[in-house]
Amino acid sequence: GGGDDGESSGGDGPIVVGISLPLTGDFSEPGKGVQQGYEAWAKIVNDSGGLLGRQVELKILDDQSNADRVVADYEQLIGSDKVDLVFGPFSTRLVVPSARVAEEYGMLFVEPAGAANEVFQQGFKNLFYAAPAVANDHYNYLAEHILALPADQRPKTAAYAAMDDPFAQGTAYGLKAKLEAGGVRTVANEVYPPNTTDFSSIAAKIADSRADVVVGGSQYQDGVNLIVALQQLNYQPKLAAFSTAPTNPEFASAIGNKTEGILSPTGYSQDAPYPSNKEFVEKYTAQFGSPPEEDQANAYTTGQVVAAAVTAVGCAEQGECQQKLVDWVRANKVDTVVGPLTWDETGKPKGAHMIQQWSGGEIKIVLPADAKEAEFLYPKPAW
């Protein structure tokens, strides 16, 4: 609960940033990653003198991965605790309702994890997604690469399995649309609810289709389970791509290290050459003992975007200031750890994701060509 009503707005007190995160429930794992990213941002900002000369202070509530809660949380943060700024929660499903609260209180709403198209179709005027690309564009480089292969090598058939979740489906169907347009036939297309734990039947159908390509629209655990179930059936595709799961640090051990050739899109690389990234990776590693992953980076990016606006506009409180912040973000380019970002009218970023691939027990960027750390393996080795 919050007790410090209102005193923090304006003046010389700390700038309070209100955030609600899924620290428990379905999205708790990535939710915690986002929390770390936000904390790293606050520390780095404060260590270098704060924003507008004021310290920043995070006020983080747990929404239990529950859409009702997330609304109540932002309601409380904005209406009752009178925070100066808000950052977004994790996952499309929570971003949409909370963005509305922020909108109705006129707050700038930069968010780290509302990647699905839905988010940008609500007509929000204050929302910006702080990452390079929306879900449907995650596989753009991969699609280009596959379709550019010589006809005899190009895969003929593909199987898709996606969680019934706006983000997960967005990634898989983004690729599906492009491959189908390029002549790759869809031979299996499965959707499963978020709480599915038994993937054997889905795997059986995919294996039975003998598709050349398997694409999983996954969050984390569902990806792991699907891969294990496919391996239990001894299915060996030429190409296997799964969203988010393979970039998780736990991934390899979760599937018994049988990771050979698995692909995944990512919006972030620890080795990316962007100016602020080096500082971020260093300081983050110092603070948490391990280098940042995508979720942490997206959170950090969110902080960077808001900080840039605050610094440029020169204010950080509720009221008129917020509209000025929104206008500034809309009109400017912001340099972040995932690269320079700009947004269209709906708050959609205009970039693309890179493609990573597992080989020899490590995950490396393989696409696009100008950023690659390793060669793209195709057809993939057996897993």
Binding site: P97, R100, E104, D164
Partner: protein
């Protein structure tokens, strides 16, 4: 005394036991009326007193719970059929309203009322299936209802939006958020008053007594000429209609519907918890329960914010109620008062056979 309790002496029980007991019902009635007036005043004054919009929105959540659990109590309290699936009816009300606004383009209020009617209509076949079975099987069916609805609303994405959810446009787009809250607060208060009024009406009616007879022994009630199935169905539909109204209002207020939360067993079980905590045989039982539980939920959230201990607290609370106050807070309080008044506790026949004969001779004397 507005109460479904069967232990309470009926008003105007003329030859009832003499002594202190005789004066009590009247005093009790005065106290009750005073309490009701005070409660109503408190409810109406709340928005003016709420320090900020967040508290006001919490008030709406509590009122929503109060309406839901009062609606639940039409079935649970009268007939004793414990439904853990009423959350599904609220969800249907919410989705119905939302879909009618977004897909059919109806104005919000019309959508709300039409959705209520539709849910009442759907409740007929649902009730038809569910009420055929009793006791534990009914509970299972009610749980199944939620799970089915969840499956359907998650999978039938082309209509319901699936797990992407459904966004319901605001009924009053021009209102600022605090004003919006205030309007919905009063709408909910009105709905609560309506639900309470109908419950009260049924409670004191013959229909209500028939429902209570069903609760006690369904076959017996049937043998006495109560059309038990029709009675159950009617009250189920009434309950469903109020639940749907509450759910629909919520959809209009909240704006974002997600199947996972609209069709959650937890919603239904909160209704049960609240009604039970307050006392299912009492008009104000569910309301009291909602005040306690709703406030407690907000409080737990405040104090254990980032742990799942709110679940632990809910579980412990429900367990304590079931173990120690199975009749609810209100009856427990009444028993507490009754303890000072032991005169009416005896159940043994207080007249000997000889006295009984004498009485009888007197009464039959005239007839024979």
């Amino acid at each position: 005394m507005p109460s479904a309790s069967d232990t309470v002496t009926a008003p105007g029980a003329a030859p009832a036991p003499p002594g202190p007991a005789a004066g009590r019902p009247r005093l009790g009635r005065v106290l009750t009326i005073a309490a009701v007036v005070a409660l109503a005043a408190a409810v109406l004054a709340f928005p003016g007193l709420a320090p900020n919009p967040y508290i006001l929105s919490a008030g709406i959540v509590v009122l929503n719970y109060a309406v839901l659990s009062t609606s639940w109590n039409f079935v649970g309290g009268f007939t004793g059929y414990i439904s853990l699936g009423h959350g599904a009816l609220a969800g249907l009300g919410g989705y119905g309203t939302g879909l009618l606004v977004t897909k059919a383009g109806l104005p919000s209020l019309a959508a709300l009322v039409l959705a209520m009617l539709l849910v009442a209509l759907i409740a007929v076949p649902i009730g038809f299936a569910a009420l055929r079975v009793r006791g534990a099987s009914f509970v299972i069916v009610s749980i199944a209802l939620v799970l089915i609805m969840l499956l359907v609303f998650q999978s039938w994405a082309s209509v319901t939006g699936g797990s992407r959810g459904l966004v319901v446009p605001r009924p009053f787009p021009d209102l600022l958020r605090p004003e919006h809250h205030r309007v919905f607060y009063y709408l909910y208060a009105g709905l609560l008053a309506l639900a309470l009024g109908v419950w009260w009406l049924i409670d004191r009616s013959r229909f209500g007594l028939g429902l209570k007879a069903i609760r006690e022994d369904e076959d017996k009630a049937e043998a006495l000429g109560t059309p038990t199935f029709a009675y159950k169905l009617v009250v189920f539909v009434v309950s469903a209609a109020f639940t749907a109204l509450s759910g629909g209002l919520y959809a209009l207020w909240f704006g974002d519907l997600d199947p996972v939360f609209q069709f959650s067993i937890l919603t239904g079980s909160y209704m049960v918890l609240m009604a039970l905590l307050g006392g299912v045989r009492n008009l104000f039982g569910p309301l009291v329960g909602a005040l306690v539980v709703g406030t407690a939920l907000e409080f737990f959230k405040g104090s254990f914010g980032n742990t799942p201990l709110h679940l632990v607290a809910t579980g412990v609370l429900l367990g304590l109620v079931v173990m120690f106050m199975p009749d609810g807070v209100l009856p427990a309080l009444r028993n507490l008062f009754a303890r000072f008044d032991r005169t009416r506790q005896s159940s043994i026949r207080e007249v000997s056979a000889a006295e009984l004969r004498d009485q009888r001779l007197q009464s039959t004397g005239g007839k024979a």
